[in-house]
């Protein structure tokens, strides 16, 4: 154990902290760290593979004798499978194996019931149509409100009702809080179901190399989670299951677990004795692979006339279809003295929800930040000032300041909706939150760094890169520690034969990996210095490596280039395996982030155009400024898409999704893109030796709220339901004018 002094905080607010570190731990990054590669604008390491079409995704794997799988889905929203006859399908041309789902009770339209593997995809699809299924249709409910009513058709027979309430949480004295309020707002906010719509649909290629040895190329967010799931499902030792995800085409939370239809493809491969390729179609992707649950948030909040929130109450419910976890957190962005929250899951006959980029947060923060805005306008206070009065997070406060300047906050409408003509412009604000500095203890994560006698360096970890830039930050961190250009390293990821890496959920990949990469690289460098020191007539601790040259710090004339130094290793490479250390206490574990949106509302057509978004986002140490900005910009675009366009629509009378494609389920295109200014706000936070907080999720959390608040500032229309479609704007405008909507 050793003690080090760190300078943590943000510009103008640094403080010294003494932390205790385990032996061998690199000195954590802090405000005084001089970094050359980390924090630069480095193009991603796999850019070349991606722009040339050489990057191989799971869909792209081609093996000798490979079969193609197709899935048969249930057309009914709720049914019992009375019989399922595959005999005709089995005898069709090219068909090599057929399997049926174990569950004979189907609870949503689109649920997988059987799968076929054949020589071609067309043959497999034809054979699926030849499977004879006799369904007994059962009563169903797909509408959130209908499902809550007593006597609604039950999604699960063994439950009393479709509603599963969570325990309420309560803090402070709510009655006193409301009594102290000068202004009270009651409002209900609603959000829709959003599907992940990854460009690469779910899929895998399964290859049984031997009866007890399985190799799978999977489009997954967790290579090791997939491996462990497969091992359990097929009763194999984990060492006999190999999962490979060198590239994957987006997950956003939907590719964290092994799905039943994916297991089916593995089972088909076992039955047929040949590799099987499964890639689900776009419709199946919408229906069955997950979604962000919808929400209804019934709220009441009060504040004093000088802008302090005194009481905050929310009763929320939503549906995750046949899944759980819809309950919206109504996340605590600000500090309120008295809070009461209840939440409930409502089961419906719809595809299961699952984590989607900041689960619960975009929907919860839409309500939180809309309510904050309503309170601010009610007491006639600047909406930013109001927020800052209720905020104790120093990073968020500094970000408000920066964001106001960047957007030109003073340009906002002093009177919402004022001005002649149908076109109205306005500016809105919202803040987000997220917290992931890595698990306090996660000693499963390991990184290997090898230095070879020919000068080559390998950095290995089996985690996957979803497109966030994991491969690139691993390279940058190792290069920084070793004193080499990034191009001199070979980064190997996305394979379970490499050391254990985290699943990419909760923005945990960077905070899990970054400190471990540093540690492994440091260990390897020390070993090399031990070998090189005698040749330079120095002690190992007197050496440093920069730009590929090892030099005696006190006597820069004594130097040796990297390749020659590695030659001193003889025939034995350096091979260091580091295990992630526990987190230590730092300065700030929670990321904030603020967004300002400027919109134009046409009250004659109802159309909302986002003109500009300013994002000020922190994530501790910014590891690669270029790819970090890309993530932030992408999150904003997903947020715009959620705010204005996306909506999974289930027909109440038939129970089927009416827009299971990429035309009527509209995701943002280039036309919907505003000018986006992404400002990465550097903070020295501690907690792990790289000072890293997760970045994937926080910037998607406030966008929809900032847009809704901008619509209010522009047109004086308070949009309490997403998506903000033209007809909702027109309806709000008509209601304001006393007309009928």
């Amino acid at each position: 154990m050793s003690e080090v002094k760190l300078k943590l905080g943000i510009p103008g607010k640094y403080e010294e902290r003494v932390v205790t570190l385990p032996e061998g731990e690199p000195k954590p990054y802090d405000a005084d760290s001089k970094l050359s590669v980390v924090g630069s604008r480095h193009p991603r390491l796999d850019g070349f593979a991606k722009v040339t079409g050489q990057a191989k995704y799971a869909h792209d794997i081609r093996l000798p004798d490979m079969l193609y799988a197709a899935l048969l889905s249930c057309p009914h929203p709720h049914a019992r499978v009375k019989s399922l006859d595959t005999s005709a399908a089995e005898n069709m041309p090219g068909v090599k194996a057929v399997v049926a789902a174990a569950d004979q009770h189907v609870r949503f339209a689109g649920q997988y019931v059987a799968a076929v593997a054949a020589e071609t995809l067309e043959q497999a699809e034809r054979a699926c149509r030849a499977i004879k299924v006799d369904y007994e249709p059962l009563p169903f409910v797909v509408d959130l409100e209908e499902a809550r009513q007593p006597g609604a058709p039950k999604v699960f027979d063994n439950r009393d009702s479709n509603v599963r309430a969570a325990d309420p949480t309560e803090r402070g004295n709510l009655a006193e809080g409301f009594a102290a309020a000068d202004a009270v707002v009651e409002a209900t906010y609603k959000t829709q179901v959003q599907t992940h719509a990854c460009m690469e649909t779910h899929g895998l290629v399964a290859h049984w190399e031997a009866p007890d040895k399985l190799k799978v190329w999977s489009s997954t967010q967790g290579t090791f989670a997939a491996r462990d799931n497969l091992a359990r499902r097929f009763e194999l030792g984990a060492e006999n299951v190999e999962v490979i995800t060198e590239y994957m085409g987006g997950g956003f939370g939907s590719k964290l677990g092994l799905r039943d239809f994916e297991s089916a493809a593995v089972e088909l491969a076992r039955k047929a004795g040949r590799p099987v390729h499964l890639m689900v179609d776009r419709k199946f992707e919408h229906l069955s692979t997950g979604n962000r649950p919808n929400s209804v948030q019934v709220m009441k909040a009060g504040c004093t006339k000088d802008g302090k929130v005194t009481a905050w109450q929310v009763d929320s419910y939503g549906t995750s279809g046949i899944g759980g976890g819809a309950g919206v957190a109504n996340p605590s962005v600000y500090d309120f003295p008295a809070v009461r929250k209840t939440s409930a899951d409502v089961y419906t006959n719809a595809g299961p929800g699952c984590p989607m980029r900041a689960p619960g947060h975009p929907q919860g923060i839409f309500a939180v930040e809309s309510m904050m805005d309503e309170l601010a306008y009610k007491i006639g206070m600047d909406p930013v000032e109001f927020r800052r009065k209720n905020n104790s997070h120093p990073i968020r406060d500094a970000e408000f300041e920066l964001g106001m300047k960047a957007i030109g906050w003073e340009r906002r409408n002093q009177t919402p909706g004022a001005g002649p003509g149908p076109l109205h412009r306005g500016i809105g604000v919202a803040s987000g939150r997220w917290s992931n500095v890595g698990e306090r203890r996660n000693s499963r994560i390991q990184v290997r760094v090898a230095i070879h006698p020919d000068g080559g360096v390998e950095v290995e970890n089996g985690a996957q890169d979803l497109g966030t830039g994991t491969r690139t930050i691993v390279g940058l961190l190792a290069a920084e520690e070793l004193g080499l250009p990034v191009e001199a390293l070979t980064v190997k990821i996305g394979h379970t034969s490499y050391p254990y890496g985290p699943a990419s959920g909760g923005s945990s990949t960077a905070p899990g990996l970054a400190p471990t990469v540093r540690k492994a690289a440091l260990l390897a460098r020390r070993r090399l210095f031990e070998v090189v020191a005698p040749a330079l007539q120095a002690q190992p601790e007197q050496l440093e490596c920069r730009d590929g040259k090892i030099t005696v710090v006190s006597d820069p004339g004594k130097t040796m280039d990297w390749k020659r130094a590695c030659g001193l290793l003889g025939t034995t490479p350096i091979n260091e395996l580091a295990t992630r250390s526990d987190n230590f206490d730092g300065w700030q574990a929670e990321a904030a982030g603020v967004q300002f949106a400027e919109v134009e509302v046409d009250v004659e057509t109802g159309r909302v155009r986002v003109l500009k978004v300013v994002v000020v986002q922190d994530c501790g140490t910014v590891l690669d400024r270029l790819t970090a900005e890309s993530q932030v910009i992408g999150a904003v675009i997903q947020g715009i898409s959620y705010a204005l366009l996306e909506d999974r629509i289930l027909d109440r009378t038939t129970g089927v999704m009416v827009n299971p494609n990429l035309e009527q389920y509209k995701i943002a295109g280039s036309w919907d893109m505003p000018e986006i200014e992404a400002i990465m706000y550097d903070a020295a936070i501690g907690y792990n030796n790289a000072g890293v907080n997760g970045l994937g999720e926080p910037p998607v959390t406030p966008t929809a709220a900032a847009i809704a608040n901008a619509v209010y500032n522009a047109a004086g229309l308070r949009m309490r339901e997403l998506p903000i479609t033209p007809w909702r704007v027109l309806a709000a405008d008509a209601a304001r004018r006393g007309g009928r909507s």
């Binding site: 040339t52 869909h59 792209d60 719509a197 460009m199 690469e200 085409g249 992408g634 035309e663 893109m673």
Partner: protein, 155 residues
Amino acid sequence: MDLRFKLNGREQSVSIAQDRRLLWVLRGELGLVGCKYGCGEGYCGACTVIVDGAAVRACQFPAREAAGREVLTIEGLAKDGKLHPLQQAFMEHDALQCGFCTPGMILAAYSFLLNNHKPDRKAIIAAMEGNLCRCGSYVRIVAAIQAAARRMYGG
């Protein structure tokens, strides 16, 4: 049927079923997997390839209609190991994240720039409207296309 056409500069001959779409011939029989399946209905643009200079949706394009014509896929865009300016610009501007839509994006932009040498931002946005990127890289895609156009045609 026997399909003969020019693929990435070389004469190609392949035996296909009459009704097969170009996407599946490229990805299947010919093993050119840079052309992606995104939606199979012509809405997302992930399968964009170039036929006689024009961007087409390979998932909708009957392979038999490629007979006697010239098809360019992402695999054929770099010449003699040298990246096309669009590929170079996409890398430098980080105009991609997961990269799945990237081949289609680059080829759609390639076809657009053939006839538009000095496009402004608005024209690029309009031209790229049919290619979806779920990671949301549009800001940088537009910047990359603009940079590539300058490199190719000056101005």
